[in-house]
């Protein structure tokens, strides 16, 4: 034995080196400007989603800081009422549509999911790239509006009749509506890519029963996106038609109804909260297990809770409309449903606590943010339970109490897990470790600042300060609390600056990370950091729920995929047995061109309905270019064998 082993090892090394260079040639990622526009690899697009949405987090933060500066004293004249309206609308729309979903769902999903599945790329990579550019198009439209004094000024949910043709002439509400179309088409595209990747690209052995919680959550969210986002597209689309071509969906004088808009909007709006929160919970489940050095406690109950949240999330939308005078029976029903959703979230919470309780906790940076999440999200959740009660909700409706509640839920449920996740996967993305000291400064500055700003708002709300007022009178006595809230912003800003400095410094100078610096169990840690363009030299197989922890020393790998074309393995949705092989379509400029054509059509339709017939041929041409089968060169056509049942 001793004499044969080195020979085998040498042969294997030589083989692996040759295979790596062949795969690198086949799976090349184009460079330069052209390459940037046409690269369809999920790691590149995922990182781009993250960086772009982070920029919008900063821009949304600047708007928030402006509002806080305006409210620092009574009768302040920094911002006028019109600009203030635009700014709070832009803040909400930016944070929800341009930051939270693109970061938490698209960014993390696109980067992490294919790696965690053990796949070489995401399914439908061109659709994925198209979705990215469409998202950028929507973002530019919205911010272009603000910069040309056409920023939407109707609140992030643009209620009619305020946003209707009668009360909002000009194009402000149109810009908001079309931004929705852009970002939702983008999120829907990514949902299709991710759901297909999770169901079909999982490594052999990763049966549904062994699927990591993060993948379960991404799958649930993808389905939620698929079912919820059409509602907001219908709502904003009908609003646009009312405004542009004189339909009467929301015009009571002609048989329309304003509450129809609210129903359509919140049928999307409440699931949206979980579309933002569940990715955060997914990150927390992953981290808690990794840094407690044990398997997650209650894998099955957590998965059941996640799926249950997905379902119940669709049955609570009316609790946003308690103040509209709906029948009491439906108010009671939706109160019960809203309270019920506490159960699955509670189950997840207790499972995390049990994991920590029975583990050996390592207080590394991502874990610090996880603890921050527990604290902040718990407070947000508890005030949410209070608000599920109709009398309380009616009392504090549209006050700063609500503002405080949803910032605790959204910043607690998205921003804290986001930082945890960014620190956690930073080594995978860059190959370097983040700086722990700077990271701790970042955490404490942000944590203190956040609580200063938003805990204070609970009291402002109870003292009667309504949201969306651009100023207040001195005899309301709100000045002290407002000043405290504004002070918190300074801390949060400092924290964010430290984070940016940490990222910029660590990506060049941080300690080398190695493949698996945290000793985690996910498949993404089973390849080099950053991963090569083909992700895995040999696609892995899986032996248990914690893939790397359960792997045997001689864990089988997948062989037999071609190295001269971009072949990927498709497995069965349930038992993940190899089913057939697919071909990754490779880089292409067409998704970018298609997104330009679609963007031009959407933007044009803000001004004239004729943009649709004029834009349609462009869209069709680019889509045909995208989907037209290309010739196989230099590789010969693969021999086809079909599989059907």
């Amino acid at each position: 034995m001793a004499t044969t082993e080195p020979v085998i090892a040498n042969e294997k090394d030589a083989h692996d080196t040759e295979l790596a260079s062949r795969l690198a040639r086949t799976w090349y990622q184009p460079r330069g400007v052209w390459g940037w526009l046409s690269n369809t690899h999920h790691t590149a697009v995922g990182k781009r989603f993250m960086v772009t949405s982070f920029i919008f987090l900063l821009l949304g933060g600047v708007l928030a800081a402006l509002m806080r500066l305006q409210l620092i004293k009574p009768e302040n004249s920094l911002l006028g009422p019109d600009l203030y309206n635009q700014i709070f609308t832009m803040h909400g729309s930016t944070m929800i549509f341009l930051f939270a979903v693109p970061m938490m769902f698209q960014g993390f999903g696109v980067y992490v999911v294919p790696l965690m599945c053990g796949a070489r790329n995401i399914a439908f990579p061109r659709l994925n790239l198209f979705s990215y550019y469409l998202y950028v198009g929507g973002a530019l439209v919205l911010w272009g509006g603000l910069l040309t004094n056409t920023g939407p000024d109707v609140g992030w949910f643009a209620y009619v009749p305020l946003s209707g043709p009668q009360y909002n002439p000009g194009h402000r509400a149109d810009i908001w509506s079309q931004m929705i179309t852009f970002t939702e088409v983008s999120a829907l595209g990514v949902a299709v890519c991710l759901a297909t990747t999770i169901l079909r690209y999982r490594a052999p052995g990763m049966t549904l029963n062994r699927m990591p919680i993060l993948l379960w959550e991404k799958l649930t969210i993808s389905f939620m996106v698929i079912f919820a986002m059409p509602a907001v597209m219908v709502a904003s689309g009908l609003l646009l038609l009312d405004r542009l071509v004189g339909t009467h969906f929301f015009n009571p004088a002609e048989g329309g109804d304003v509450l129809l808009y609210q129903h359509l909007f919140w049928f999307f709006g409440h699931p949206e909260v979980y579309i933002i929160f569940l990715p955060g919970a997914a990150i927390i489940s992953t981290l808690v297990s990794c840094f407690s050095r044990r398997r997650i406690f209650g894998h099955t109950p957590i998965v059941v809770s996640v799926v249950a949240t997905g379902f119940i999330g669709f049955g609570v939308w009316v609790h946003h409309m308690f103040a509209t005078g709906l029948p009491q029976l439906s108010e009671s029903f939706f109160t019960a449903a809203s309270l019920m959703i506490v159960i699955p979230t509670g189950v997840q919470f207790f499972c995390w606590l049990a994991t920590i309780w029975h583990g050996r906790v390592q207080m590394r940076l991502p874990m610090l943010w996880a603890f921050g999440f527990f604290f902040v999200f718990l407070i947000g959740g508890l005030s949410g339970v209070m608000l599920a009660s109709v009398p309380v909700d009616t009392q504090v409706h549209d006050t700063y109490f609500i503002v405080a509640h949803f910032h605790y839920v959204l910043i607690g449920g998205a921003l804290f897990p986001m930082f945890a996740g960014l620190y956690f996967w930073f080594p995978k993305m860059t190959g370097r470790m983040p700086d722990e000291t700077l990271g701790k400064w970042h955490f404490w500055l942000f944590f203190i600042g956040f609580n200063l700003t938003f805990f204070t708002m609970h009291f402002l709300g109870l003292h009667g300060m309504t949201r969306r007022v651009y100023t207040y009178l001195p005899d309301m006595h709100w000045q002290g609390l407002n000043r405290l809230a504004t002070t918190g912003v300074a801390f949060m800003t400092a924290g964010l600056l430290v984070f940016i400095a940490n990222v910029l410094r660590s990506r060049r100078l941080g300690a080398r990370a190695g493949d698996n610096p945290w000793g985690d169990s996910g498949l993404e840690w089973g390849t080099s950091s950053p991963p090569p363009s083909y992700n895995f030299l040999y696609p892995p197989t899986v032996n248990g729920r914690d893939a790397l922890w359960d792997a045997t020393p001689d864990q089988a790998v997948v062989v037999g995929l071609r190295d001269d074309i971009r072949e990927v393995l498709v497995t069965h949705s349930l038992d993940s047995n190899p089913q057939h092989k697919d071909e990754d379509p490779g880089p292409s400029i067409w998704p970018f061109l298609a997104s330009l054509a679609v963007s031009a059509t959407f933007v044009g339709s803000i001004f004239t309905p004729w943009a649709v017939p004029y834009g349609a041929p462009l869209v069709i041409i680019t889509l045909i270019g995208w989907l037209w089968p290309r010739s196989h060169s230099p590789a010969p056509l693969p021999e086809r064998t079909s599989w059907s049942h």
């Binding site: 969906f249 129903h263 089988a556 062989v559 498709v570 092989k581 697919d582």
Partner: protein, 206 residues
């Protein structure tokens, strides 16, 4: 390029014999097509829900209009039902790779789609309302307009596949695409018939 000789390994899962084309539910494009039909189906469902919601806001339905004329609506419903035959035929023949059969099937399907689109143009003239009359009319126009958009998309998709079928690129996974195209056509047929029932049928019954 010479193929590499696999070195001795303790354990490998060799997938070289796994097929490279799949028809039916195991195909990834099939799955994506189902997702997109779900998305668009949701949009139709929400528009139908809005239609019934707006019905509750007025005394009479249709409010102050005659219900749309049956002529073109019925004609299109019949075209939709008959068009299932070529669609199903393409789907059946696609796995065999019989390019001539696929060409004929797609040509007949495209003819049906073209016919349905032409009838749709006339349908708009006999709805007995304009979109800007009231909320009922707006809903009618959007429902039929949305469906017309799907019809046009499917027509173009079928024509493109037909063009591909005249080249040697109609092989392997493109055959599966031709089969999947029929699934999408069924979706267009089902939503078209639902539109017909709700818009033409219900106002005459209730």
């Amino acid at each position: 390029m010479e193929s590499l000789r696999e070195p001795i390994r303790p354990l490998t899962l060799d997938v070289s014999d796994v097929p490279s084309v799949a028809f039916g539910p195991s195909n990834t494009t099939w799955l994506a097509n189902v997702f997109y039909m779900t998305i668009e189906g949701m949009m139709f469902a929400l528009m139908f829900a809005s239609y019934f919601y707006l019905r509750t806001r007025v005394q009479q339905w249709p409010p102050g209009h005659l219900a749309p004329d049956l002529r073109y609506g019925v004609a299109n419903a019949v075209v939709f039902i008959l068009s299932v035959i070529p669609a199903r035929w393409v789907q059946k023949r696609a796995p065999s790779g019989d390019r001539a059969a696929i060409r004929i099937g797609l040509m007949v399907l495209a003819a049906f789609a073209l016919l349905a689109t032409a009838i749709r143009v006339f349908e708009f003239t006999t709805l007995n309302c304009r979109w800007s009359d009231d909320a009922y009319s707006s809903t009618l126009w959007v429902l039929i307009g949305m469906h017309a958009g799907h019809l046009a998309t499917e027509l173009i998709e079928t024509l493109v596949l037909l063009a591909v079928a005249f080249t040697d690129k109609m092989e392997g996974t493109r055959l599966a695409d031709a089969a999947i195209n029929s699934d999408y056509w069924y979706f267009v047929v089902v939503t078209g018939l639902l539109n017909f029932i709700f818009i033409y049928g219900l106002p005459r019954v209730i």
